[in-house]
Protein backbone atom coordinates (compact mmCIF):
# COMPACT_ATOMS: atom_id res chain seq x y z
CA UNK A 1 0.00 0.00 0.00
CA UNK A 2 1.21 3.52 -0.81
CA UNK A 3 1.87 6.04 1.94
CA UNK A 4 0.37 9.48 1.18
CA UNK A 5 1.77 12.21 3.42
CA UNK A 6 0.81 15.79 4.27
CA UNK A 7 2.91 18.88 3.54
CA UNK A 8 1.77 22.32 4.66
CA UNK A 9 5.09 23.93 3.83
CA UNK A 10 8.12 23.22 1.61
CA UNK A 11 10.02 22.20 4.77
CA UNK A 12 7.34 19.63 5.61
CA UNK A 13 7.44 18.35 2.03
CA UNK A 14 11.17 17.75 2.34
CA UNK A 15 10.64 16.08 5.72
CA UNK A 16 8.00 13.76 4.22
CA UNK A 17 10.24 12.83 1.30
CA UNK A 18 13.14 12.11 3.64
CA UNK A 19 10.95 10.06 5.99
CA UNK A 20 9.77 7.66 3.31
CA UNK A 21 6.59 9.02 1.72
CA UNK A 22 5.44 7.44 -1.54
CA UNK A 23 3.51 10.60 -2.33
CA UNK A 24 3.03 14.01 -0.73
CA UNK A 25 -0.14 16.08 -0.93
CA UNK A 26 -0.23 19.86 -0.64
CA UNK A 27 -2.13 22.94 -1.79
CA UNK A 28 -1.82 26.55 -2.84
CA UNK A 29 -1.73 29.42 -0.36
CA UNK A 30 -5.36 30.43 -0.87
CA UNK A 31 -8.99 29.37 -0.56
CA UNK A 32 -8.73 26.63 -3.20
CA UNK A 33 -7.81 23.96 -0.68
CA UNK A 34 -9.24 22.78 2.61
CA UNK A 35 -6.30 23.82 4.81
CA UNK A 36 -6.32 27.56 4.17
CA UNK A 37 -4.58 28.63 7.40
CA UNK A 38 -2.31 31.69 7.88
CA UNK A 39 1.32 31.09 6.95
CA UNK A 40 0.57 27.70 5.45
CA UNK A 41 0.75 26.21 1.96
CA UNK A 42 2.65 26.81 -1.24
CA UNK A 43 3.22 29.67 -3.66
CA UNK A 44 3.39 28.73 -7.35
CA UNK A 45 7.20 28.88 -7.26
CA UNK A 46 7.35 26.81 -4.07
CA UNK A 47 5.11 24.15 -5.61
CA UNK A 48 7.30 23.88 -8.71
CA UNK A 49 10.44 23.57 -6.57
CA UNK A 50 8.73 21.12 -4.22
CA UNK A 51 7.64 18.88 -7.08
CA UNK A 52 11.16 18.90 -8.52
CA UNK A 53 12.56 17.98 -5.11
CA UNK A 54 10.04 15.17 -4.60
CA UNK A 55 10.55 13.75 -8.09
CA UNK A 56 14.33 13.66 -7.56
CA UNK A 57 13.57 11.39 -4.60
CA UNK A 58 11.12 9.25 -6.58
CA UNK A 59 8.15 10.68 -4.66
CA UNK A 60 4.92 11.84 -6.32
CA UNK A 61 3.11 15.08 -5.49
CA UNK A 62 -0.68 15.30 -5.36
CA UNK A 63 -2.15 18.81 -5.36
CA UNK A 64 -5.39 19.40 -3.48
CA UNK A 65 -7.77 21.88 -5.12
CA UNK A 66 -10.54 20.48 -3.02
CA UNK A 67 -12.81 23.32 -1.97
CA UNK A 68 -16.01 24.27 -3.80
CA UNK A 69 -15.73 27.38 -6.03
CA UNK A 70 -17.71 30.45 -5.07
CA UNK A 71 -20.16 31.79 -7.62
CA UNK A 72 -18.51 34.56 -9.58
CA UNK A 73 -14.97 33.50 -8.67
CA UNK A 74 -14.58 30.27 -10.63
CA UNK A 75 -11.43 31.55 -12.35
CA UNK A 76 -9.52 31.33 -9.03
CA UNK A 77 -10.13 27.56 -8.96
CA UNK A 78 -9.51 27.11 -12.69
CA UNK A 79 -6.18 28.89 -12.33
CA UNK A 80 -5.25 26.59 -9.44
CA UNK A 81 -5.97 23.52 -11.59
CA UNK A 82 -4.01 24.92 -14.55
CA UNK A 83 -1.04 25.99 -12.42
CA UNK A 84 -0.87 22.65 -10.59
CA UNK A 85 -0.80 20.81 -13.92
CA UNK A 86 1.84 23.21 -15.28
CA UNK A 87 3.96 22.68 -12.16
CA UNK A 88 4.05 18.94 -12.86
CA UNK A 89 1.57 17.61 -10.30
CA UNK A 90 1.23 13.83 -10.48
CA UNK A 91 -2.46 14.05 -9.60
CA UNK A 92 -5.08 16.62 -8.68
CA UNK A 93 -7.36 16.01 -5.70
CA UNK A 94 -10.74 17.56 -6.52
CA UNK A 95 -14.20 17.60 -4.95
CA UNK A 96 -16.41 19.89 -7.03
CA UNK A 97 -18.24 18.40 -10.01
CA UNK A 98 -17.73 21.49 -12.15
CA UNK A 99 -14.04 21.59 -11.36
CA UNK A 100 -13.68 17.87 -12.12
CA UNK A 101 -15.36 18.49 -15.48
CA UNK A 102 -13.05 21.44 -16.16
CA UNK A 103 -9.92 19.45 -15.28
CA UNK A 104 -11.01 16.39 -17.28
CA UNK A 105 -11.78 18.49 -20.38
CA UNK A 106 -8.92 20.96 -20.17
CA UNK A 107 -6.21 18.46 -19.12
CA UNK A 108 -7.33 15.08 -20.45
CA UNK A 109 -4.06 13.33 -19.59
CA UNK A 110 -4.00 14.50 -15.99
CA UNK A 111 -4.56 11.93 -13.24
CA UNK A 112 -7.55 12.96 -11.10
CA UNK A 113 -8.46 11.83 -7.59
CA UNK A 114 -11.79 12.40 -5.84
CA UNK A 115 -11.20 14.30 -2.59
CA UNK A 116 -12.65 13.17 0.72
CA UNK A 117 -14.50 16.51 0.54
CA UNK A 118 -16.75 14.96 -2.12
CA UNK A 119 -18.03 12.48 0.47
CA UNK A 120 -18.25 9.72 -2.15
CA UNK A 121 -19.20 6.84 0.11
CA UNK A 122 -20.90 4.24 -2.10
CA UNK A 123 -20.20 2.41 -5.38
CA UNK A 124 -22.82 4.35 -7.33
CA UNK A 125 -21.35 7.74 -6.43
CA UNK A 126 -17.80 6.58 -7.06
CA UNK A 127 -18.83 4.91 -10.32
CA UNK A 128 -20.26 8.21 -11.52
CA UNK A 129 -16.94 10.01 -10.94
CA UNK A 130 -15.08 7.25 -12.80
CA UNK A 131 -17.46 7.21 -15.73
CA UNK A 132 -17.98 10.97 -16.07
CA UNK A 133 -14.47 12.26 -15.41
CA UNK A 134 -12.15 9.25 -15.65
CA UNK A 135 -10.97 9.60 -12.06
CA UNK A 136 -8.35 7.07 -11.03
CA UNK A 137 -8.72 7.15 -7.27
CA UNK A 138 -11.23 8.03 -4.58
CA UNK A 139 -10.35 9.18 -1.08
CA UNK A 140 -13.00 7.53 1.07
CA UNK A 141 -14.77 9.50 3.81
CA UNK A 142 -14.02 8.57 7.40
CA UNK A 143 -17.44 7.10 8.13
CA UNK A 144 -17.01 3.59 6.71
CA UNK A 145 -16.17 0.34 8.48
CA UNK A 146 -13.47 -1.94 7.07
CA UNK A 147 -16.06 -4.48 5.80
CA UNK A 148 -17.90 -1.62 4.06
CA UNK A 149 -14.65 -0.49 2.43
CA UNK A 150 -13.96 -4.05 1.25
CA UNK A 151 -17.44 -4.23 -0.27
CA UNK A 152 -16.95 -0.91 -2.08
CA UNK A 153 -13.53 -1.92 -3.41
CA UNK A 154 -15.07 -5.05 -4.95
CA UNK A 155 -17.62 -3.00 -6.86
CA UNK A 156 -15.66 -0.06 -8.24
CA UNK A 157 -13.18 0.44 -11.08
CA UNK A 158 -10.74 2.80 -9.41
CA UNK A 159 -8.19 2.85 -6.60
CA UNK A 160 -9.10 3.68 -3.02
CA UNK A 161 -7.25 5.81 -0.48
CA UNK A 162 -8.17 5.84 3.20
CA UNK A 163 -7.07 7.94 6.17
CA UNK A 164 -5.02 6.10 8.76
CA UNK A 165 -3.82 8.83 11.12
CA UNK A 166 -4.63 12.35 12.31
CA UNK A 167 -7.65 14.60 12.53
CA UNK A 168 -10.95 12.82 12.36
CA UNK A 169 -14.02 14.27 10.65
CA UNK A 170 -17.19 12.30 11.26
CA UNK A 171 -19.47 14.63 9.30
CA UNK A 172 -20.60 14.41 5.67
CA UNK A 173 -17.35 15.95 4.51
CA UNK A 174 -17.66 18.90 2.20
CA UNK A 175 -21.19 19.49 3.43
CA UNK A 176 -20.69 20.35 7.11
CA UNK A 177 -21.90 23.85 8.03
CA UNK A 178 -21.24 23.92 11.78
CA UNK A 179 -18.24 26.23 11.43
CA UNK A 180 -20.05 28.37 8.85
CA UNK A 181 -22.91 28.86 11.32
CA UNK A 182 -20.55 30.07 14.03
CA UNK A 183 -18.18 32.20 11.95
CA UNK A 184 -19.80 33.09 8.63
CA UNK A 185 -16.89 31.47 6.82
CA UNK A 186 -17.28 28.12 5.10
CA UNK A 187 -14.77 25.29 5.44
CA UNK A 188 -16.06 23.98 2.13
CA UNK A 189 -15.62 27.21 0.16
CA UNK A 190 -13.09 29.33 2.08
CA UNK A 191 -11.10 26.25 2.97
CA UNK A 192 -10.90 26.55 6.73
CA UNK A 193 -12.88 24.90 9.48
CA UNK A 194 -12.80 27.07 12.63
CA UNK A 195 -10.89 29.96 11.05
CA UNK A 196 -8.11 31.20 13.32
CA UNK A 197 -9.44 34.76 13.25
CA UNK A 198 -12.55 33.56 15.08
CA UNK A 199 -10.77 31.41 17.68
CA UNK A 200 -9.88 32.67 21.15
CA UNK A 201 -8.41 30.94 24.20
CA UNK A 202 -8.77 32.28 27.69
CA UNK A 203 -7.46 31.08 31.05
CA UNK A 204 -10.11 31.42 33.74
CA UNK A 205 -10.19 29.93 37.23
CA UNK A 206 -7.59 27.33 36.26
CA UNK A 207 -9.57 26.24 33.22
CA UNK A 208 -8.81 26.97 29.59
CA UNK A 209 -11.84 28.16 27.67
CA UNK A 210 -11.87 27.79 23.90
CA UNK A 211 -14.19 30.03 21.92
CA UNK A 212 -15.27 30.05 18.30
CA UNK A 213 -17.00 33.24 17.26
CA UNK A 214 -19.53 34.07 19.98
CA UNK A 215 -19.66 30.50 21.27
CA UNK A 216 -17.70 29.02 24.16
CA UNK A 217 -17.24 25.50 22.86
CA UNK A 218 -15.14 23.86 25.54
CA UNK A 219 -13.54 24.29 28.96
CA UNK A 220 -10.54 22.16 29.79
CA UNK A 221 -9.67 21.57 33.42
CA UNK A 222 -6.14 21.86 34.81
CA UNK A 223 -3.92 19.35 33.04
CA UNK A 224 -6.77 17.96 30.95
CA UNK A 225 -5.65 17.20 27.40
CA UNK A 226 -7.08 19.62 24.84
CA UNK A 227 -8.39 19.37 21.29
CA UNK A 228 -8.95 21.56 18.27
CA UNK A 229 -11.51 24.37 18.60
CA UNK A 230 -14.09 22.81 16.29
CA UNK A 231 -17.79 22.74 17.11
CA UNK A 232 -18.04 19.02 16.39
CA UNK A 233 -15.63 18.50 19.29
CA UNK A 234 -17.34 20.93 21.62
CA UNK A 235 -18.99 20.00 24.90
CA UNK A 236 -22.72 20.60 24.82
CA UNK A 237 -25.19 21.05 27.68
CA UNK A 238 -28.36 19.02 27.08
CA UNK A 239 -31.24 17.70 29.16
CA UNK A 240 -29.24 14.48 29.53
CA UNK A 241 -26.13 16.22 30.85
CA UNK A 242 -23.02 17.96 29.55
CA UNK A 243 -20.51 16.23 27.31
CA UNK A 244 -19.32 15.47 23.83
CA UNK A 245 -22.21 14.80 21.46
CA UNK A 246 -20.65 14.43 18.02
CA UNK A 247 -17.04 13.54 18.64
CA UNK A 248 -14.47 13.51 21.43
CA UNK A 249 -11.19 15.40 20.98
CA UNK A 250 -9.31 12.41 19.60
CA UNK A 251 -7.10 11.44 16.65
CA UNK A 252 -7.59 8.59 14.23
CA UNK A 253 -4.90 5.90 14.45
CA UNK A 254 -5.57 2.89 12.25
CA UNK A 255 -2.10 1.33 12.55
CA UNK A 256 -3.59 -1.76 14.14
CA UNK A 257 -5.96 -2.14 11.17
CA UNK A 258 -3.32 -2.13 8.42
CA UNK A 259 -3.65 -5.90 7.82
CA UNK A 260 -7.43 -5.57 7.48
CA UNK A 261 -7.14 -2.56 5.16
CA UNK A 262 -4.63 -4.44 2.99
CA UNK A 263 -6.96 -7.43 2.85
CA UNK A 264 -9.83 -5.11 1.92
CA UNK A 265 -7.89 -4.12 -1.20
CA UNK A 266 -7.09 -0.52 -0.27
CA UNK A 267 -4.49 1.08 -2.58
CA UNK A 268 -3.17 3.93 -0.45
CA UNK A 269 -2.99 5.08 3.17
CA UNK A 270 -3.36 8.78 3.89
CA UNK A 271 -1.96 10.72 6.84
CA UNK A 272 -3.93 13.84 7.80
CA UNK A 273 -2.13 16.96 9.01
CA UNK A 274 -1.10 19.62 6.52
CA UNK A 275 -1.63 22.13 9.33
CA UNK A 276 0.93 20.36 11.53
CA UNK A 277 4.69 20.95 11.80
CA UNK A 278 7.58 19.24 10.03
CA UNK A 279 8.27 17.45 13.34
CA UNK A 280 4.83 15.82 13.10
CA UNK A 281 5.32 14.94 9.43
CA UNK A 282 8.72 13.41 10.08
CA UNK A 283 7.54 11.25 12.96
CA UNK A 284 4.19 10.11 11.60
CA UNK A 285 5.54 9.31 8.14
CA UNK A 286 8.48 7.46 9.70
CA UNK A 287 6.14 5.63 12.06
CA UNK A 288 3.86 4.41 9.29
CA UNK A 289 6.80 3.52 7.06
CA UNK A 290 7.99 1.27 9.91
CA UNK A 291 4.46 -0.10 10.32
CA UNK A 292 4.26 -0.98 6.63
CA UNK A 293 7.65 -2.69 6.85
CA UNK A 294 6.42 -4.68 9.83
CA UNK A 295 3.26 -5.60 7.93
CA UNK A 296 5.27 -6.81 4.94
CA UNK A 297 7.58 -8.83 7.18
CA UNK A 298 4.73 -10.33 9.19
CA UNK A 299 5.95 -8.65 12.38
CA UNK A 300 3.74 -7.06 15.04
CA UNK A 301 2.87 -3.41 14.35
CA UNK A 302 3.73 -0.88 17.05
CA UNK A 303 0.50 0.97 17.75
CA UNK A 304 1.61 3.34 20.51
CA UNK A 305 4.55 5.12 18.92
CA UNK A 306 2.71 8.30 17.97
CA UNK A 307 0.38 8.69 20.95
CA UNK A 308 1.93 11.95 22.22
CA UNK A 309 1.11 13.68 18.91
CA UNK A 310 -2.60 12.99 19.11
CA UNK A 311 -5.44 15.43 19.70
CA UNK A 312 -6.78 15.05 23.22
CA UNK A 313 -3.85 12.67 23.77
CA UNK A 314 -6.24 9.90 22.74
CA UNK A 315 -6.66 7.66 19.72
CA UNK A 316 -9.51 5.87 18.02
CA UNK A 317 -10.00 3.43 15.17
CA UNK A 318 -12.98 5.61 14.26
CA UNK A 319 -15.65 4.15 12.03
CA UNK A 320 -13.25 1.47 10.78
CA UNK A 321 -14.10 -0.48 13.91
CA UNK A 322 -17.61 0.60 14.82
CA UNK A 323 -18.78 0.04 18.37
CA UNK A 324 -21.69 1.35 20.40
CA UNK A 325 -21.16 3.55 23.46
Amino acid sequence: MELICPAGTPAALKAAVAAGADAVYCGFRDETNARNFPGLNFSRDELRAGIEHAHRGGVRVLVAVNTFPRAGAIEVWHRAVDDAVAAGADALILADLGLLAYAANRHPGQRLHVSVQAAAANPDAIGFYVEAFGVRRVVLPRVLSVPEIAAIVREIDCETEVFVFGGLCVMAEGRCSLSSYATGQSPNMQGVCSPAGHVRYEERDGRMLSRLGRFTINAFGPGEAAGYPTLCKGRFATDLGTGYLFEDPVSLDAASLLPALRDAGVTALKIEGRQRSRAYTERVVGGFRDALAALAAGREIDTAALADLTEGQATTAGAYRKTWR
Binding site: G39, R278, L309, T310, R325
Partner: protein, 182 residues
Protein backbone atom coordinates in the same frame (compact mmCIF):
# COMPACT_ATOMS: atom_id res chain seq x y z
CA UNK B 1 0.20 23.88 33.52
CA UNK B 2 2.24 20.79 32.87
CA UNK B 3 0.08 17.70 32.68
CA UNK B 4 1.16 14.53 34.44
CA UNK B 5 3.57 12.53 32.35
CA UNK B 6 4.74 15.52 30.32
CA UNK B 7 8.37 15.15 29.27
CA UNK B 8 9.17 18.57 27.87
CA UNK B 9 12.60 19.47 29.30
CA UNK B 10 12.50 22.11 32.04
CA UNK B 11 15.17 24.59 33.11
CA UNK B 12 16.19 23.36 36.59
CA UNK B 13 14.82 25.62 39.34
CA UNK B 14 18.27 26.48 40.81
CA UNK B 15 19.43 27.71 37.40
CA UNK B 16 16.27 29.76 36.97
CA UNK B 17 16.80 31.23 40.46
CA UNK B 18 20.42 32.07 39.65
CA UNK B 19 19.28 33.92 36.54
CA UNK B 20 16.79 36.06 38.45
CA UNK B 21 19.22 38.90 39.35
CA UNK B 22 20.62 39.01 35.81
CA UNK B 23 20.36 42.60 34.49
CA UNK B 24 18.20 42.33 31.38
CA UNK B 25 20.26 45.06 29.75
CA UNK B 26 22.98 42.44 29.30
CA UNK B 27 20.64 40.34 27.17
CA UNK B 28 19.66 43.12 24.83
CA UNK B 29 22.74 43.28 22.54
CA UNK B 30 22.94 39.51 21.83
CA UNK B 31 19.17 39.29 21.30
CA UNK B 32 19.26 42.28 18.94
CA UNK B 33 22.07 40.63 16.99
CA UNK B 34 20.15 37.33 16.90
CA UNK B 35 17.03 38.99 15.50
CA UNK B 36 18.97 40.72 12.73
CA UNK B 37 20.91 37.59 11.82
CA UNK B 38 17.70 35.54 11.57
CA UNK B 39 16.20 38.27 9.37
CA UNK B 40 19.25 38.25 7.09
CA UNK B 41 19.40 34.45 6.77
CA UNK B 42 15.67 33.79 6.44
CA UNK B 43 14.00 36.56 4.42
CA UNK B 44 11.34 34.03 3.30
CA UNK B 45 10.05 33.99 6.86
CA UNK B 46 8.54 37.46 6.42
CA UNK B 47 6.68 36.49 3.27
CA UNK B 48 4.86 33.77 5.22
CA UNK B 49 4.20 36.14 8.12
CA UNK B 50 2.63 38.67 5.76
CA UNK B 51 0.71 41.41 7.61
CA UNK B 52 1.33 39.63 10.92
CA UNK B 53 4.96 40.83 10.85
CA UNK B 54 3.57 44.07 12.30
CA UNK B 55 2.19 42.29 15.38
CA UNK B 56 3.79 42.06 18.84
CA UNK B 57 4.34 38.58 20.24
CA UNK B 58 4.98 37.82 23.90
CA UNK B 59 7.18 34.77 24.47
CA UNK B 60 6.97 33.59 28.05
CA UNK B 61 9.32 30.76 29.03
CA UNK B 62 7.52 29.64 32.18
CA UNK B 63 10.67 28.12 33.67
CA UNK B 64 12.70 31.36 33.41
CA UNK B 65 12.38 34.52 35.52
CA UNK B 66 11.98 36.76 32.46
CA UNK B 67 10.16 36.83 29.11
CA UNK B 68 10.60 38.32 25.65
CA UNK B 69 8.69 40.61 23.33
CA UNK B 70 9.19 39.67 19.69
CA UNK B 71 8.51 42.26 17.01
CA UNK B 72 9.33 40.60 13.67
CA UNK B 73 9.46 43.76 11.56
CA UNK B 74 11.35 43.05 8.32
CA UNK B 75 13.14 46.43 8.51
CA UNK B 76 13.98 46.30 12.22
CA UNK B 77 13.27 42.98 13.92
CA UNK B 78 13.68 42.95 17.68
CA UNK B 79 13.56 40.62 20.67
CA UNK B 80 13.31 42.56 23.93
CA UNK B 81 13.78 40.90 27.34
CA UNK B 82 11.28 41.95 30.01
CA UNK B 83 10.59 40.98 33.62
CA UNK B 84 6.89 40.71 32.89
CA UNK B 85 5.03 40.73 29.59
CA UNK B 86 3.07 43.94 28.88
CA UNK B 87 -0.70 43.64 28.53
CA UNK B 88 -1.04 45.24 25.10
CA UNK B 89 0.48 42.37 23.11
CA UNK B 90 -1.24 40.79 20.12
CA UNK B 91 -0.24 37.26 21.08
CA UNK B 92 1.09 35.53 24.19
CA UNK B 93 2.81 32.13 23.98
CA UNK B 94 3.80 30.51 27.26
CA UNK B 95 5.57 27.24 27.96
CA UNK B 96 8.87 25.78 29.09
CA UNK B 97 11.96 27.19 27.33
CA UNK B 98 12.64 23.71 25.90
CA UNK B 99 9.21 23.66 24.27
CA UNK B 100 9.62 27.13 22.73
CA UNK B 101 13.11 26.34 21.43
CA UNK B 102 12.02 22.88 20.32
CA UNK B 103 9.34 24.35 18.06
CA UNK B 104 11.93 26.59 16.39
CA UNK B 105 14.37 23.71 16.17
CA UNK B 106 11.86 21.34 14.56
CA UNK B 107 11.94 18.91 17.49
CA UNK B 108 8.42 19.57 18.75
CA UNK B 109 5.03 19.88 17.13
CA UNK B 110 3.20 22.97 18.37
CA UNK B 111 -0.26 21.38 18.17
CA UNK B 112 0.91 18.39 20.23
CA UNK B 113 2.34 20.75 22.87
CA UNK B 114 -1.01 22.55 22.94
CA UNK B 115 -2.97 19.28 23.23
CA UNK B 116 -0.80 18.18 26.17
CA UNK B 117 -1.27 21.62 27.80
CA UNK B 118 2.49 22.16 27.79
CA UNK B 119 1.87 25.31 25.77
CA UNK B 120 -0.62 28.10 26.52
CA UNK B 121 -1.65 30.59 23.86
CA UNK B 122 -3.76 33.73 23.99
CA UNK B 123 -4.66 36.56 21.63
CA UNK B 124 -4.68 36.80 17.86
CA UNK B 125 -4.68 33.19 16.62
CA UNK B 126 -4.16 34.20 12.99
CA UNK B 127 -0.92 35.92 13.95
CA UNK B 128 0.09 32.98 16.11
CA UNK B 129 -0.45 30.43 13.32
CA UNK B 130 1.35 32.61 10.79
CA UNK B 131 4.36 32.90 13.11
CA UNK B 132 4.35 29.19 13.94
CA UNK B 133 4.12 28.15 10.29
CA UNK B 134 6.69 30.69 9.10
CA UNK B 135 9.20 29.65 11.73
CA UNK B 136 8.60 25.94 11.09
CA UNK B 137 9.15 26.36 7.36
CA UNK B 138 12.29 28.48 7.82
CA UNK B 139 14.19 25.65 9.58
CA UNK B 140 16.10 28.18 11.69
CA UNK B 141 19.31 26.79 13.16
CA UNK B 142 19.28 28.92 16.31
CA UNK B 143 22.43 27.36 17.70
CA UNK B 144 24.50 28.12 14.63
CA UNK B 145 23.11 31.63 14.27
CA UNK B 146 23.46 32.55 17.93
CA UNK B 147 26.81 31.03 18.71
CA UNK B 148 28.91 31.31 15.58
CA UNK B 149 30.20 34.85 16.35
CA UNK B 150 31.39 33.80 19.81
CA UNK B 151 34.20 31.52 18.66
CA UNK B 152 35.64 29.23 21.37
CA UNK B 153 33.56 30.92 24.06
CA UNK B 154 30.53 29.35 22.43
CA UNK B 155 31.49 25.80 23.41
CA UNK B 156 29.85 25.61 26.86
CA UNK B 157 26.67 27.17 25.52
CA UNK B 158 26.77 24.85 22.56
CA UNK B 159 26.93 21.84 24.89
CA UNK B 160 23.96 23.16 26.87
CA UNK B 161 21.95 23.62 23.70
CA UNK B 162 22.79 20.11 22.55
CA UNK B 163 21.53 18.76 25.88
CA UNK B 164 18.20 20.50 25.34
CA UNK B 165 18.06 19.14 21.79
CA UNK B 166 18.90 15.63 23.01
CA UNK B 167 16.17 15.85 25.62
CA UNK B 168 13.74 16.88 22.90
CA UNK B 169 14.87 13.91 20.85
CA UNK B 170 14.12 11.63 23.77
CA UNK B 171 10.67 13.15 23.91
CA UNK B 172 10.25 12.36 20.23
CA UNK B 173 11.07 8.75 20.97
CA UNK B 174 8.99 8.73 24.11
CA UNK B 175 6.07 6.37 23.95
CA UNK B 176 3.03 6.81 26.06
CA UNK B 177 -0.10 4.79 26.34
CA UNK B 178 -2.99 6.88 25.15
CA UNK B 179 -6.62 6.52 26.03
CA UNK B 180 -8.64 4.63 23.48
CA UNK B 181 -11.98 6.10 22.49
CA UNK B 182 -13.49 2.87 21.27
Amino acid sequence: MQPAGSVVPQVPAPIAAALRPLPLLLLRPPLAMLAVRIRDRHPELFERLGPHAAKRFGLDPTDLPFAFVLEPRPAAPSVTPVRQLPRDLDVRIAGPLGALLGMVDGAFDGDALFFSRSLQVEGDMEALLALRNAVDDACIDLRRIALSPLGPAADPLDRAFRRVRAAAGRVAAHRTESRSWN
